[in-house]
């Protein structure tokens, strides 16, 4: 089937799509944390996969290839979102475009809504690559090895990105008067 897909046969692509759409969706929703957006990005991922069929080597793992493309699609989204987020917050000076998003269940009462909003804002101002590594490592609690395979970098580089994300976040929070 992989050879047929690499030759550009639509039936093979459909079979691969149906087999892997859930897995690709899960890997995207873990990063963007929005089911509707994750559906759009799943279609975008398979659109990229379809366009790149001629470059696919049937001897290699389709799952790993698809996961890598999915992560890149999510990363591209974060880059554009981060850009518009920064522009919007600077232009309108309104602090809460994240307020509409679902809030975590059973929040720690010591952490106020304002602190959560400011933390989320500070996090979304980090470079997208750091956001992805930190989300997968700290929120999803995925092993570094797994994240490394998804991002196509070494486990050491993942650790470094997570550390840099935490350090930058701490600086941004302190600037806002929040002592983590």
């Amino acid at each position: 089937m992989l050879r047929q897909f690499a030759r550009g046969e639509l039936d093979a692509f459909e079979a691969l799509f149906r087999r892997h759409q859930s897995e690709v969706y899960r890997s995207i929703v873990a990063i963007v944390r929005d089911p509707a957006l994750a559906e759009d990005l799943t279609v975008e991922t398979f659109w990229r996969i379809h366009r790149a069929h001629a470059h696919f080597d049937p001897a290699r793992s389709f799952e790993a290839w698809a996961r890598r493309i999915a992560t890149n699609a999510a990363l591209d989204y974060l880059k554009s979102a981060s850009h518009s987020f920064t522009k919007n917050t600077r232009a309108r000076d309104t602090p809460d475009p994240l307020e509409d998003l679902p809030q975590p269940p059973l929040p720690d009462p010591a952490i106020t809504q304002e602190i959560r909003t400011r933390t989320a804002q500070a996090f979304h101002q980090l470079p997208p690559k750091l956001q992805v590594a930190a989300t997968l490592a700290l929120i999803e609690e995925q092993p570094y090895k797994e994240i490394a395979a998804t991002l196509g970098i070494s486990a050491g580089a993942v650790k470094l990105r997570v550390f840099r994300a935490l350090r930058l976040l701490r600086t941004k929070l302190k600037q806002q008067g929040i002592e983590p």
Partner: protein, 80 residues
Amino acid sequence: MNASEQERIAKLLKQSLPQVTDDGAQLGRDLWPVMLQRLRQPPEPAPWLNQVWFDWALLAALAVWLAFFPAAIPVLLYHL
């Protein structure tokens, strides 16, 4: 930054970012019809083609002009 500080920031982050519920973590519908629709859309022209059409038009005009007036080539080279 020490380990306990890292843990505190990680905890704060978990409390602050939207959680993906069990329902949201699973794909709720088959996306193939959407994919098929996307595949059937005519391909969009490359954005760079739209942005640089004027450059290409200018280059074509220059080529035509030089074809009709080859004596202008040294003058053009002198001014470049």
